[in-house]
Symmetry: C2
Subunit: 298 residues, 2 copies
């Protein structure tokens, strides 16, 4: 049964690919992220809060613009010369279709964060790690898509990540532990999720050696709800970020891996599976702290 989000209290949809949340939907979203944060705490992950922008020069080191030019959004300010600002402020800047003509712009050096964990590799760039580091962050992430749907596919969405940077075995153990933990949870609550090998959504994939490498040796496993929607993923980056950002562990390029949760998609999966009213959700969800008195939740 398809979920009619337009009839759900607390979810407002905008034609520009973004959602407004309030009431029970907002409370549920927070509870889900609190659950992920609890899981992050189980490995003692340190939490960070990063800015909305990330330096284009850092993403360029990852060959990001070659791989994902179709997804990227840039923050752009106007040229600061008083003449241009006067001209902009005087002229009619918006047309009937709601489009702004920017005219001359200031140099663009930033990107709107496309994935939460990139910030960590930039932060720990050029460091020798004495122990493996467990980290977590939640970020609003931005991906321009060909179409949008409430909660399922948004221009802005919320991503919680749990990350380990360390030696190869340390990272593999971490990812295996979290996979087992999440599998137990999903089976416990009865949310139908299949684990599927996947590749990142490269631009022009057949010409991209990174895509071909991912096809040969899968490094991304998605948690696929209802046969179609990836609500999270477990990613083994090998030593790709360690080499690119010169992070070392035991004298060698560090390995890294992350567990990523698309928080709005988890909300969608819960609403689809358990219904729009959390008061009728199974008691097992209460025992995990995800249901029960959400109306009064802050």
């Amino acid at each position: 049964m398809a979920l009619d989000l337009k009839k759900l209290d607390g979810i407002g949809w905008q034609e520009n690919g973004q959602a407004v949340l309030s009431g029970m939907a907002l409370a549920m979203l927070r509870r889900l992220d609190r659950l992920f944060l609890l899981w992050a705490g189980e490995c003692g992950a340190e939490e960070y809060r990063f800015p909305t922008f990330i330096e284009a020069g850092q993403l360029h080191k990852l060959d990001y613009f070659r791989s994902f030019p179709h997804l990227v959004t840039f923050p752009v300010a106007l040229d600061t010369s008083p003449e241009h600002l006067k001209e902009f402020s005087r002229s009619a800047v918006i047309d009937e279709a709601g489009v702004v003509q920017l005219g001359k712009c200031a140099p663009v050096r930033e990107v709107l964060t496309p994935a939460a964990c990139y910030h960590f590799y930039v932060l720990f760039q050029g460091t020798e790690l004495k122990t493996a580091r467990n980290l977590t962050t939640v970020a609003t992430c931005f991906r321009r898509e060909a179409y949008y749907r409430p909660l399922e596919r948004q221009w802005n969405f919320t991503m919680r990540e749990i990350v380990r940077i360390g030696a190869a075995e340390e990272v593999k153990d971490f990812l295996a532990d979290y996979r087992a933990r999440i599998e137990r949870f999903l089976s416990d609550i009865g949310l139908p999720v299949a684990w599927e090998n996947a590749t990142d959504p490269f631009f022009d994939p057949s010409r991209n050696p990174k895509f071909l490498a991912q096809k040969l040796e899968p490094v991304k496993t998605e948690m696929v709800f209802g046969g179609a929607l990836a609500i999270g993923s477990i990613n083994f980056h090998r030593n790709f970020f360690g080499e690119t950002f010169d992070m070392r562990r035991n004298g060698e390029a560090a390995f890294s891996g992350c567990v990523a949760f698309g928080v709005e998609r988890w909300l969608y999966a819960f609403l689809s599976r358990f219904g729009p009213d959390e008061r009728s959700w199974p008691s097992v969800l209460r025992s995990h702290g995800i249901a029960g008195d959400l109306a009064n939740d802050k």
Copy 2:
């Protein structure tokens, strides 16, 4: 005594005007926002979570681009034609100064949220309010500035707002109540804050009738910490948003007002006044839930 933020644990500063928070600084920021949310709860404010972008066409109704062209940041994606994306992905897109050459861009219809409460006037556009509405939201806001400083002046910062939309007297009472509540709190904890009439930071102010109107009849009162830093403000919009967005109360254009908190600036004020280590903060802060065992706070 000036606060050296570069020596403070948990605050990382980026040259692009943005901060990375972790540890105690992140825990303090959360506690401050929890306090504001508690205050919002005292008038039963409904909480909303808005997207990062707001439609340019809506801000245009406020004459925003004429008043604040120097502050605005736009989210810009590349032109979607496969030819342009191929060209962009193939060519060297970043120069030595870290600047990206975007080439052809997709039409720009959005703005990065400049102030949290605008979203409410768009949301309740064209409605007749049966009672005054009390609302709250926290948002990452974006203002391009001539210079940046950690916590004090950032390109991205966190703004919590408590808003009332209603009849003139309803809004005046609301603002007076909150001013009294905040004054009591500040006096109770001993944070030196002066209330000062202010104007919004208009572009080319002497030519802007809105600026002149604000000079004649002040509608913005700032909470100024240490003689220089506005950590919050109380704003009486009269029926400006009610008229612009056709919100009505008792058959007339609704009035509105907001109480706004710059969350990073509050953090700065607390660190400056009470010192970098919350374990030595006065016990009155503990009784308000702002200090005490922050290290274990999630």
